[in-house]
Homo-oligomer: 221 residues x 4
C-alpha cells in the first residue's frame, strides 16, 4: 500500500491517480475530506483519510486507521506556499506556512520512525528547489523548505542502520493550485503540470537489490 499526503490536489493527487491506475492500493490524506473525495471517487483502490499533519493527535489517528496494512511507500506531498517581500508578509500567514511545511513533516516523520523504523519502507519527502537555494521574495518559504531539508538530512543520520529509507525530492516550477493560493502572480504556462511531474517522479523512484535513487531534483525546461 502507498500512502500519499497532501493528495487532495497538485502533485499528490496526480501521483495517487497514476499509482491507482497501475493497480496499486493507495491511501490518500489531506485536511479536507471533501477535496480528498474528489480525488478518490473515481478509483476504487484509492482510500481517503482526512488528517491535519500539523496536529499530533491527527497524525496518530491517521496511522491507527492504517494499522491493518503497513505502507511500503509513503510519499509526503503536503505543504503550502507563501511569498512576497518580507515587509509585505503577515505573521499569521507565516505561522501557517511553518505549520503546513515544517511541523507537519516533523510530526509525520516522527510517527513513521516510531512505528516503522525496523521496516523496509521508502519515505519520499517532496520539498522544492526552494530547499536548495535562497530566493528573493520567497524568504519564509525558503526558511520552511530549508528546515525540512535540515531535518531530513539529520533523520537520515539517525536511521543509518535502519531499513527505512528517506528519499528527498526537489521539484521546481510546477503549475498547480499551489500558486493560486500563494499570493504570487506569475505566468505558469511553461511550467510542468502536476501530471508531468508525477510521471517523472514515479519513474525515477527506483531501486535495485543493493541501491536506490535517494535524491531527485526535477526542473522545468
Amino acid at each position: 500500500m502507498i500512502l500519499i499526503t497532501g493528495a487532495s490536489s497538485g502533485l499528490g493527487a496526480a501521483l495517487a491517480t497514476q499509482y491507482a491506475e497501475e493497480g496499486h492500493t493507495v491511501t490518500i490524506s489531506g485536511r479536507s475530506a471533501e477535496r480528498l473525495h474528489t480525488v478518490s471517487e473515481q478509483h476504487t483502490n484509492i482510500h481517503p483519510i482526512a488528517a491535519d499533519l500539523a496536529n499530533e493527535a491527527s497524525v496518530t489517528m491517521l496511522f491507527d486507521k492504517l494499522s491493518a496494512s503497513t505502507p511500503n511507500t509513503v510519499i509526503h506531498c503536503a505543504g503550502s506556499g507563501y511569498f512576497g517581500g518580507i515587509d509585505t508578509q503577515q505573521a499569521t500567514e507565516i505561522n501557517t506556512l511553518l505549520e503546513n511545511n515544517v511541523t507537519s513533516t516533523i510530526l509525520l516523520v516522527r510517527e513513521l520512525v516510531k512505528r516503522y523504523r525496523d521496516k523496509k519502507i521508502n519515505v519520499v519527502i517532496v520539498m522544492s528547489t526552494a530547499a536548495l537555494a535562497a530566493k528573493a521574495g520567497e524568504s519564509t518559504y525558503c526558511a520552511a523548505k530549508w528546515a525540512v531539508r535540515g531535518f531530513i538530512e539529520s533523520i537520515r543520520l539517525e536511521l543509518k542502520n535502519s531499513p527505512m529509507k528517506l528519499i528527498a525530492v526537489y521539484p521546481g516550477g510546477m503549475d498547480t493550485d499551489f500558486w493560486l493560493s500563494s499570493g504570487k502572480t506569475l505566468d505558469t504556462s511553461s511550467f510542468m503540470s502536476a501530471k508531468e511531474a508525477a510521471g517523472m517522479l514515479k519513474q525515477a523512484l527506483t531501486a535495485s537489490e543493493h541501491g536506490y535513487i535517494s535524491d531527485i531534483t526535477i526542473q522545468r525546461g
Copy 2:
C-alpha cells in the same frame, strides 16, 4: 546604540557586558524582565526591554520603545535548544523550538526591514554550526537553524542594494545555560565560555570603508 536580543544569559549577556564596559550604550532584550535586570543592574549604560520576539505585537512594542534612538548594530542571540532522537521528542517542545528560533528571527528581521532598510545598520544573526550540517540527535534543532539560514540568505538577496547588512554567525560548542535547559547531557568542560565566544565575535565583527566581515564560524578547539 547596540541592540542585543536573547541577552538575559549566555552569549547575549556576555556581549552586552563587554560592549557596555567599552562605553557603548546597549539595549538588551529577552522574555524575562527579571533575568534581564540581573544583566543590566551593574551597568548604567545597559537598558533592558522585555519582549517576546515570537509575538508580533511585542516586537512592534520593542522598536516603538527604541524609536528615539536607532540602533547602528543589532545582535540577535535569542534562541533555544531541544535535542534527542526524533522518536523521543515532544510535539509541544518542537513547537516552542520553532517559535524561539524561527518565528522570532523572522518577525525581528521583518520589523528591521520595515523600519530601517534604508539605514546603515549591521544586523548580526547568531545561529549555530547546526545551521551548516545535519546532526543525529539534533534533527529539529537543525531544522530550526537551517530555516534561519535559508531565511537570512533570502533576505540578503532582498536587501541587495540596501545599506542594511546581514552578518551571519555560526558558533559551535559553547558552554552556556543553553545546554542545561536543552535536555542534552554532555561534558562541556572543553567548550568555550560565553565570555570567550563574545570576545572573539566582538573582535571579528569588523568593517572597512568598502567591505565587511559577513560570515563568521566559531569553533571550539
Copy 3:
C-alpha cells in the same frame, strides 16, 4: 545517438551495453582502444572511438569523428579514483587524478558548448557522492569532484537560455574496477554492481514536455 565516455569498464560500459540492447546506437569513448573493443565487440550498434579527454586535440578529434551524427545524449562517466591520508599521497598520482576528473570534464564540456549549445542535447555528468560531502581519506578525490560540481553548476548558469541541459548524477558505493586501481581496500560485497546502477540511472534519466530530472543521487542500501 548516445555518446558515453569512460565506457571501457564500470558504469559507462554497463550503460553502453544496456542502451545497445534496447536498440540505441551508442558511441563509446575511453583511453584504451583495446578495452573499448571488449565492450563493443558483442554489439553491432556500439561504436568505439579511443580518446584522451584531458588532451584538447584528442577531444576535438573525437567530435570531428562524430560530426556526421550529433549525439542527443552524452553521458560522461570518465574519471578515476585515488585515496588515502593526505600524507600518504604522491604528487604524480594527484596530478593524474585532477587530469582524469577535472581537466577531462572541463575540456569535454567546453567542446560540447562550442559545438552544440543551440541544440537540444542532454549532457549527463556522472560524479560521485564525494562531490557532495567532505571525506577523510578522500581529500584529493573530493577536491576533484567538488571542482566538477562547481564547474557544472557554473556552466548551468551560462547555458540558462540554451536547449542544452546538464544533468548531474552522484552515485555512491558502486562495486567496479575503480576500487581495484584506487589504492583503497574495502569490502564491496554490499555495493551496487555497475549493472544495477546503470539500470537505475537509465530509468531515472527521464523528461516530459516541460520538465526533466536534473539531479540524481544513487546510494547503496
Copy 4:
C-alpha cells in the same frame, strides 16, 4: 614566525607588511624572487623565499629552508584567476589555473601535515567567494576554488584530533592586480583594497583558550 604564500602582491603582500609593522617575523613566498624583494626590502623582519608551490621539490625546499623556525601561522594566499565564458577559455590557461590554485594548495597542505600535524599551527587558507557559489563567466575559477574547499573540508576531518587547525577565508570583490591579469575587465572602484581586506582579516583571525574563528567571509559593501 608567520609564513605567507602568494605574498608578492595583493592580499598576501598587504598582510606581510601589516604583520611586519606590528613587529612579527614574517617569511614570504611567491614564484618571483624579484617581486618578493619589492615587498621585503622595506622591512628587516620580512624574509623572502622564492618557491613554486605547484612543484613538490620546490615546496620541500621552502620548508627545508624554514626548518630552523617552525611557523605558528601559515597564511596561504597564493592563487590566480582566469575568467570568461567556457567557450572562450584556453586549455593551457585552464591548466595553469588548476595548478596555481588546486595543485599548489594540495602540495602545500600535504607538506604541512607531514611536518607539523602534531604542532599547534594555524593554517589559514584564503579562497574566494567563488568557492561558495557557482558563477557564470567564472566556471573554471569556481571549479578551482570548489576543489580547494572540498579538499580543506576533508583535511579538517583527517586532522580531527590534531592541534593543527585549518581556517577558511572567503574574500569577495578585492581590488588587486589579480584582476589585471585575469582577462576580466570590470570597474573595481567600489572594491576593497588589499590593505582593507588584510586589516579586517588580521583582526578576525582570533582565538581564545577553548575556541577560534574557523571560517570568515569578507564581502564588499
